[in-house]
């Protein structure tokens, strides 16, 4: 557990979108999917997930519907809307730009004079 990375502020929404983009998920499923796709490197506090989900629904990037889970329990499933797919594309691109920029900044060597 100790080698888990701290979530940067604002990245939770991106992770949720990415997780849901692979197929409709219920809340617990989102947690599992994030753990899975990040290779257990990112762990999200269970309570923090739901406000994020509700916020994204309000913003119209997620839509929710009730269904039955693989455990045969009633659960609320989330999936991306068209706006959500667009947002995911944009934020992925912008994250990549940022990560590249920071990566190259950190990798820069002092120039020979």
């Amino acid at each position: 557990m100790t080698n888990q990375a701290q979530l940067l502020p604002g990245t939770l929404d991106l992770l949720i979108l990415r997780a849901v983009s692979l197929g409709p998920l219920h809340g617990y499923g989102v947690l599992l999917r994030i753990a899975q796709i990040s290779g257990n490197a990112l762990l999200i506090e269970q309570g923090a997930l739901y406000p994020g989900l509700f916020r994204l629904v309000r913003q119209g990037v997620l839509k929710a519907s009730w269904g039955t889970s693989e455990n045969n329990r009633r659960a609320k499933f989330y999936e991306l809307t068209a706006a959500g797919r667009k947002r995911l594309r944009e934020e992925t691109a912008s994250w990549n730009r940022l990560a590249t920029a920071i990566g190259s900044a950190l990798a820069a060597q002092p120039e020979e004079t």
């Binding site: 809340g27 309570g47 119209g60 609320k76």
Partner: protein
């Protein structure tokens, strides 16, 4: 379309709130179940798995709250929740609620009433369109008085006003064919209604184009009220001819109901063109440029873009022109602008309103301080609840919001109650006629503005006292409090709550001091020396013009009236004074006096400007004015005898140094008449009770051109109830067509004392209300301190403490606060009464009776407020108490 979608979502969430809640709960439950499924699969027993899942998830209350906030619409939702909770809490402690609501209702009510007055008197004194650009010109000594020729020049030569209108008063006998009666109205310039931009209710108004010189426009416009009461709403009244002082006038219109003239407090019965005023006043003012009282007020709308400062400069320029052109008649004094309708009282009314507003504000502040204290105490009592909610994961903001909701709820309820009371009160007052018969009323209209102000005040005060306990809540440490229970930390030096209470007691003492000073001032002004004796004196007003007397007929008739009244049994003296006696209807008018030797009687050489009254022989005896030296007039001082005057001590002292020196000396009037001083009488009051000592002269009325309007002063120990009909009968025998008004001098003085009375009554009410406020505050503190220290007091008693010592321990602090607060308040009150002395005659705080009264009142207050807590402290049974705790 994102926005409408989210908006629709918000609205939808509002209505599906409970469903949302249920869904949210189900979703979280489902989450925990799924987690438990996983844990179970890893080998835990089901029960243990579920427990572990719940622990991992953490405080679901907080999650739910955050979800609600994230889902939007949460503000309204949580507000409704807060509101419900607040209602529940308030219902649980009805005592607290009632005290808080009543306190606020009084404070808000008082403020709303005062604002109502201010609204009516200062913000929009006249009910006419665009009143904000309507200005009256003040000339000289803060009055609008002006002569008619000067008015014409002002009107035609100024470049700042759209047009200038002017008016003066007209008191007439009106004969509609059946019993003649007196009526009062305005004689106005022809453009009066056009300048005011108002339209008639019925018929038409007269206009500038109707004026064609002296006595050319015998038209009459009735006020709505007069039309209603005297003509019983008869629409056929248009075109009817009625007689004003025996001259025929044609009724051409009725003014709208909301228009009550252009002088505050005084609503006219009718309006007539000023070019006809000679017919009703008997005196032609149209050509008298030197007169200072031809016109009561001149006013008009400023042209667009002209500022009051520019207008004043413009008026000064006209004044300079007039002074150059008419050096003899026109004395250049400065012009200024005032609110139309208020020019003569502007300053007094403003001072009065400022004082009142200040006091009302203080009351509201005191109420807030008090409620803030109550809320702090309540928050302390509820610290366990707050701590519990914090521990369960509620955010501090949320708890504060809840407390604030409670405060605002109370303030709104209190504000509403206060406003309801205020509406009833204002409506009563707007119908109130302080003097039956006199056209005086207070123009109050409760309306949306007042409601808005009251609402704003209520909300503001709600936030104000709701915020007081904030610090306390923010500091709350849930673990400490849940663990140890609430214990008062005794011995803190001074808490915010105590400070607030001290401030409040001080404010209360200010109010009590002010009201006592005012009451004492009024009492003194009622028994002050006016320079005449009002007891056993009746005033009989007649205007011989109303029965058609002119020229020599007037003096003859006046002598006959005096003789006739003398024959009534019980009548001791009868004196006559032209127009009105001193103090009545602000009758004192000034004349220019020159030294005997002054050749050039220009304004710059004026030696004195005393008030002047024309009186008959016997007037001084009838009025009870003491003669200091020389003699009064006799019946031999007629037109053939040399002109004589009686002057007051002030005048004698100013001009001749002393009373004996003045006897036999001469002075000159404006027209050059040499007048010899026959006698000197005591000083008195002439125009208002609050004036500084003024010079005054009395001329012999029968040596002067006679005035048709006069007042007979009848001195008799007989009961006024019997005397009045006797006088009326006598005068009726002389002339059945002459309207007569009879009242006691004392009742006429009520008019003069009116402002002081109003001030005193309102201050008295305020003082009483102000005194109510800290009672709850002190009571709260005392009760709080007793209940927090019950255990300690019990132990003290068990150890043998005396009753006195217990009381000292329990109530020492509230009493100390009371003493400090009162002392501070008394000092402040003494300072505040400087403001008061503008309005209330002889208001002085340096009065042992006032000081003693304040101290007594404050001690009584403390006694009342601490009585119950003291009883509770004394009735402690240490055994029971110690067993219980």
């Amino acid at each position: 379309m994102k926005l409408p979608d989210s908006l629709r979502f918000r609205i939808a969430t509002l209505f599906q709130r409970s469903q949302m809640n249920a869904e949210m709960e189900e979703e979280l439950r489902s989450h925990i179940q799924h987690r438990a499924d996983d844990l179970e699969r890893s080998g835990l027993p089901r029960a243990e798995a579920e427990r572990r899942a719940r622990v991992e998830f953490g405080g679901s209350l907080r999650v739910k709250q955050e979800c609600q906030e994230a889902a939007g619409g949460t503000l309204v939702e949580s507000f409704v929740q807060d509101l419900r909770f607040a209602l529940r809490m308030l219902r649980k402690s009805p005592g607290f609620t009632v005290v808080a609501v009543v306190t606020l209702a009084m404070a808000i009510g008082a403020n709303a009433v005062v604002f109502g007055f201010m609204d009516a008197l200062i913000l929009r004194p006249l009910n006419v369109p665009q009143a904000d650009t309507l200005y009256g010109t003040e000339y000289g000594l803060d009055t609008g008085f002006q002569s008619y020729p000067n008015y014409l020049d002002l009107r035609d030569r100024n470049r700042s006003f759209d047009d200038l209108a002017a008016f003066t008063f007209a008191f007439v006998g009106i004969d509609t064919g059946e019993n003649p009666s007196r009526a009062s109205g305005y004689a106005t310039s022809g453009n009066y209604f056009d300048v005011l931009r108002i339209q008639p209710y019925l018929g038409r108004f007269f206009h500038g184009s109707d004026e064609h010189g002296r006595n050319s426009a015998a038209y009459l416009v009735l006020s709505y009220v007069y039309w209603h009461s005297r003509f019983e709403d008869d629409r056929g009244v248009l075109g009817r001819v009625v007689r004003l002082n025996t001259h025929p006038f044609t009724i051409i219109g009725v003014a709208p109901p909301e228009f009550r003239g252009t002088v505050l407090f005084i609503s006219p019965d009718f309006f007539m063109p000023i070019v006809n005023q000679e017919q009703v006043n008997g005196e032609n003012i149209l050509d008298a440029r030197g007169s200072t009282h031809g016109i009561f007020e001149t006013f008009g709308h400023l042209k667009p873009g002209v500022t009051p400062t520019q207008a004043v400069a413009d008026l000064q320029a006209v004044g300079a022109y007039l002074e150059k052109t008419y050096p003899k008649e026109f004395a250049q004094k400065s012009f200024s602008l005032g609110h139309a309708g208020l020019t003569s009282f502007d300053r007094a009314v403003r001072a009065f309103m400022t004082g009142l507003m200040l006091l009302a504000g203080l009351i509201l502040l005191a109420a807030c301080a008090n409620l803030g204290g109550l809320f702090t105490a309540r928050a302390a009592d509820r610290s366990r609840e707050v701590a519990l909610r914090l521990a369960l994961g509620a955010s501090r903001i949320r708890i504060l919001r809840q407390l604030l909701t409670e405060a605002v709820l109370i303030s709104l309820v209190g504000g509403t109650v206060g406003l309801l009371g205020n509406i009833v009160l204002l409506q009563r007052m707007s119908l109130w006629q302080p003097f039956p018969g006199a056209p005086i009323h207070v123009p109050l209209h409760p309306d949306a503005r007042i409601y808005a102000v009251a609402l704003a005040l209520a909300l503001l005060s709600g936030f104000l006292f709701g915020i007081v306990p904030v610090r306390q809540v923010l500091r709350t440490d849930p673990y400490e409090i849940v663990k140890s229970g609430s214990t008062a930390r005794v011995g803190r030096r001074i808490s915010l709550r105590e400070l607030l209470l001290a401030v409040q007691i001080a404010i209360c003492a200010v109010l009590v001091t002010s009201s006592m000073v005012a009451v004492r001032g009024l009492a003194r002004s009622l028994h002050g020396n006016f320079g005449f004796e009002t007891r056993n004196a009746m005033l009989t007003f007649t205007n011989l013009a109303m029965a058609g007397y002119t020229g020599d007929g007037v003096a003859t008739m006046q002598k006959r009236m005096i003789e006739a009244i003398h024959t009534i049994p019980g009548v001791e003296q009868v004196g006559l004074v032209n127009n009105y006696p001193p103090l009545i209807y602000a009758a004192g008018s000034r004349v220019n006096i020159f030294k005997e030797e002054t050749k050039d009687r220009t304004p710059s050489n004026i030696a004195s400007m005393p008030y002047s009254f024309d009186v008959s022989p016997e007037y001084f005896e009838a009025a009870g004015t003491g003669l200091l030296a020389g003699r009064a007039f006799s019946w031999h001082d007629d037109k053939n005898a040399p002109a004589l005057a009686v002057v007051n001590r002030e005048f004698a002292g100013n001009l001749f140094g002393s009373v004996p020196d003045a006897i036999g000396r001469y002075f000159a009037l404006q027209d050059g008449t040499r007048v010899q001083i026959a006698g000197v009488v005591e000083d008195g009051k002439y125009l208002s009770l609050t004036e500084d000592q003024q010079p005054a002269i009395f001329l012999a009325s029968f040596q002067l051109p006679s005035s048709q309007s006069s007042c007979l002063v009848v001195r008799s120990p007989r009961d006024p109830q019997q005397l009045a009909p006797a006088i009326r009968n006598k005068l009726h025998e002389l002339d059945a067509g002459l309207p007569v008004d009879i009242s006691t001098w004392n009742s006429m003085l009520d008019v003069v004392l009116f402002p002081a009375r109003v001030a005193t009554v309102s201050l008295g009410v305020m003082g009483a209300m102000g005194a109510m406020l800290p009672i709850t505050g002190i009571f709260g503190l005392a009760a709080y301190s007793v209940s927090k220290r019950l255990r300690e007091l019990g132990i003290r008693m068990a150890l043998g403490a005396q009753r006195k010592e217990v009381l000292q321990a329990a109530l020492g602090r509230p009493f100390k606060l009371l003493a400090c607060g009162s002392a501070a308040g008394l000092l402040l009150g003494i300072l505040a009464t400087r403001v008061l002395s503008f309005i209330v005659y002889q208001a002085t705080p340096r009065d042992p009776l006032v000081l003693a009264g304040v101290v007594l009142a404050m001690s009584l207050l403390g006694l009342v407020a601490t009585w119950i807590p003291a009883q509770r402290a004394l009735s402690i049974d240490p055994m029971i108490l110690l067993r219980e705790q």
